[in-house]
Symmetry: C2
Subunit: 574 residues, 2 copies
């Protein structure tokens, strides 16, 4: 049997690089590059080149032995020569050692023909996997406290990993799913990504350029999250970086515009950016179809076009409302989220869930519409009333418990400073960046809430019930979630799922931040009734996200109604 | 240099078929299987097995020579043996001869390991390409009138092509784009599609099962369009086939419910399907946010869940409104479109563009939300008022001119019967099925209107202007589009783009159907003003879809405003 080989057609019609017949996996040691690489190689029928294996084949020694015996620089030299050779093979899947991507020469060599995929997972998650893996001891760079060391390495390497063509979340996804995600990106965009102007120059930089605090990459949308001091005044620059050159339609509320409107207007004016703004009354009542209609009418009167951009400057209400309007006006316009509350920075602004409320329930009308960027300026938090500042940390604490024990330690050590609103800007930025990273990773893995993303609902089932039952504004969202987390921890403890000390640590931390642990006086029947109407309830059964431990949240179905009933009654003191 | 081969990992962890390391291309002769196959092979680094080439290699004769010399049955026998051998190779891209997929044994063999992709294009488009291709003469099965023969073959083979795992539009897309679409599907869904229960049995059927009149396959969503007599009474069965087992929320209008409500209610009742219905006032005024809000409130009071389904029973207003509500309620519920007007069957119901109007303009608020199915029952058309029946044919005639000359002939030969509403059901079903197929193909190629889909706007630029300027309800949509098509033909003719005889044939056909060619008395300044506000106008310039010939529509930018002005004045008799 003869076959028409691919080589002829390929060389005749288009020059080689457009094919992207090389997929390169980078990321921390232990994130799963080898297993994902094997899966990719099996599906594509391509060879898998593992640079650690190639080092072994060439020297007869493992990277661990080389580093221990001859020192890291000697190992890196050998690794570079192996990388350079691997990079000439095509087609191929190339899995690199965790540090290989730090050298500019390696990055350039790998980028020449390869689509570079950054496999990311939280250090805590990687540490858990490595501890379970007997081969994990053969990683000398991870000597010492495993998790601490992984965090250090991530910190050091993130600016370089950020240069990858695509970011792939490795959280709650099997190697086969991760491979599908990579192949989807490769088939849709491989050639275009490889030919992005200036790509090889960027890969070859020696000093890493500033990188966003976090990046969301859903496979079809990718966007940065910038966290820092003064970010709001960099908006014109950020819009330019994003290629958003149309007019700016700014949506904000009465409180926020009073505090920050003049600054931002001046910034846009100085940059020569045209646009208009619309200010809604502050408060949840504005998150309504009636107000969305006002915004549509305004956009129509301004003749907004698809190439213009909506900037949502405010808390969750502004973000959800303006995001929903952006999702639906002209069947979709870009939106940049500029959250101004701790809560919005850590929750609503990231992930593309946009909605308005109906009288019958919150968020009943909405869409998934990923923003073009999230810009979190921590300077604006100083102007928040204390109660609003504090409530936002309920979501930060949630992120720490469900996925980031290190963040948890940071919060515990600094609870008093946060509670007094005296945390220094660097600390505040660090905490919000880490928390954003957790949210970004989870929504990257599951953008339309089909599975993993439900862990973000930790504390929200009872929390929403309390919010609704107490009446609008009685409990702030974060306060209700705080009580809800205590409730979820108690349910978990009673079922023997959540260890008692986890439950205790949670109550202590929430308390230290000044967040409520109970909701005295709220009618328990109303809470339970509201929980039954929640979108998260399916077929009448209440499902709960519970903690198996710190950093280990899981959805549990079919929780005994009598137990829920009892815990809710305990929370409201009934 | 050593490399870790993929074979070990693959066989150890998962059994082979899950990998889908074989991509099979089927479709009519000339649709582009070889060039798409070459592109796929080049990107994947897999061999391309072309069954026609393999026949040549084995016998020393081309398929054409074999068929001419030894007869088709002898050729088919050789082809089957070649297909059987090709199907054992892995990985591989397999391009089949146009008729190879008709034999049950071949289908089963190809389906064993291969993801089967049906490349589809209208026969007229294929004929155009074959005429331009010098190798095209070596296709003996295409002897005689090329286009007629292609249409015959398509008719004969469509039921079998319909069994493919994925449908790929080859219209306005380069081989590289088509390859990307196939690879996207392969990477996201290849394994799942190959393991669909009963797939091999379906592939192996001898008598083709009934197939939908058309299928939309956007790469992420695939759904059938059923066209026929009595289809509305098969709704419960269709919902079952689609796996929609929740409650049914029926949205309709006062006119439609009076004519068909009882029938359909009985049908659901007999099938034991629970649900509720909501009736809106007939007419464009109902396509408003206010009415959407009523529907949301109704769905909330009924506790609709994401697993339930909205059925939109009515014309374009009901379809657009209910589709928009489905796109946004709970961030998206499934919707089944059951269009009851000629216009909706050929236009609004297919393609997922859903919207409501604002006072400032039509369709300003909306989304892209593909339905789960479109069910067109031609029996309901008999109850339409004549004016509404006739207006719908403006879109059918548009589809014929932009993409299907054969449909054009059918309409010309039967214009009197349609105009008198006496066309027999079979003819009506055939015409609507063909027209649906054109729309399905275009939206499959370009679901979010980034390019090709704009050809569907033929006649709509001036048409929308007339609709708006004349005032709501003065001109029905199809009537305005009819005048708009005459205008576009005149602009094309004045620019030397559209041949005079095309323009003449268009006016004659529209006239024969009883559709207007002019809009006397409408204010031309108002028409031009409304055109400037249209979503299709970008940066103030009016772009027009014009006909280079029959079946050859193209977007032209920068049409001289004075020319447009003059043509519009001519149309309104000013």
């Amino acid at each position: 049997m003869t076959s028409t080989g691919p080589a002829n057609e390929a060389t005749q019609s288009v020059r080689e690089p457009r094919r992207a017949r090389q997929i390169v996996l980078v990321g921390l040691s232990g994130v799963g590059k080898s297993s994902v690489g094997a899966e990719l190689a099996a599906r594509l029928g391509w060879p898998l080149l593992d640079t650690d294996d190639l080092v072994r084949a060439r020297t007869g020694q493992t990277p661990a032995q080389l580093i221990t015996g001859r020192g890291e620089p000697a190992f890196r030299e050998i690794e570079s020569s192996v990388v350079a050779e691997a990079a000439t093979h095509e087609p191929a899947v190339i899995a690199t050692g965790g540090g290989a991507f730090q050298a500019a020469a390696n990055r350039r060599a790998l980028g020449e023909r390869g689509l570079i995929c950054y496999l990311q997972a939280p250090p805590a998650e990687i540490a858990r996997r490595l501890r379970a893996d007997p081969g994990g001891s053969d990683r000398p760079l991870l000597a010492g406290d495993l998790e601490d060391r992984l965090r250090e390495l991530e910190w050091e390497r993130r600016p370089f990993y950020a240069l990858a063509d695509t970011w792939v979340p490795c959280l709650g996804l099997a190697p086969a799913d991760i491979a599908s995600r990579i192949l989807g990106r490769w088939s849709a965009d491989g050639a275009r990504l490889l030919e992005a102007p200036g790509r090889l120059e960027r890969l070859g930089v020696v000093d890493a350029p500033p990188v966003p605090a976090a990046t969301v990459d859903t496979g079809t949308a990718r966007y940065p999250i910038w966290v820092g001091s003064g970010e709001r005044l960099r908006l014109p620059e950020r819009l330019r970086e994003l290629g958003l050159r149309g007019r700016v339609f700014l949506v904000s509320d009465t409180h926020v515009i009073e505090a920050h409107g003049a600054d931002i207007a001046r910034t846009f004016e100085a940059a020569g950016i045209a646009g208009a703004s619309y200010v809604i009354p502050a408060g949840e009542r504005s998150k309504a179809l009636r107000v969305a209609q006002e915004l549509y009418t305004w956009l129509a009167s301004e003749r907004a076009e698809r190439g213009d951009v909506i900037v949502a400057l405010g808390g969750g209400v502004v973000g959800d409302l303006a995001g929903y309007v952006a999702a639906t006006y002209l069947r979709g316009m870009p939106v940049v989220q500029v959250p101004t509350s701790v809560l919005a920075m850590n929750d609503a602004a990231i992930g593309g869930k946009v909605a308005v409320d109906l009288p019958a329930g919150k968020n009943l009308v909405g869409a998934f519409h990923q923003p073009a960027a999230v810009i979190s300026d921590i300077d604006v938090l100083a102007t928040l009333p204390r109660r609003s500042y504090i409530e936002g940390f309920a979501e930060v604490i949630k992120h720490a418990f469900i996925l980031d024990e290190d963040l948890l330690g940071l919060l515990e050590r600094n609870a008093n400073a946060f509670s007094a609103m005296t945390a220094p800007p660097e600390l505040l930025a660090t905490v919000i960046a880490r928390s954003s990273r957790i949210k970004a990773l989870v929504v990257s893995a599951d953008p339309e809430e089909r599975g993993l993303r439900s862990i973000l609902n930790y504390g929200h089932t009872i929390g929403h019930g309390i919010e609704t039952a107490a009446g609008l504004g009685e409990y702030l969202h974060g306060e209700a979630v705080s009580v809800g987390m205590v409730g979820a921890a108690r349910i978990g403890a009673r079922l023997g799922i959540t260890p008692e000390d986890v439950s205790g640590r949670m109550s202590a931390l929430l308390h230290a931040f000044g967040l409520p642990l109970t909701a005295p006086g709220v009618d328990p029947r109303a809470v339970l009734q509201a929980m039954r109407l929640d979108k998260k309830v399916s077929g009448g059964r209440t499902r709960f996200v519970l903690l198996d431990g710190i950093g280990a949240a899981r959805l549990h179905a079919d929780i005994e109604p009598a137990l829920v009933d009892d815990v809710v009654r305990g929370l409201v003191g009934a």
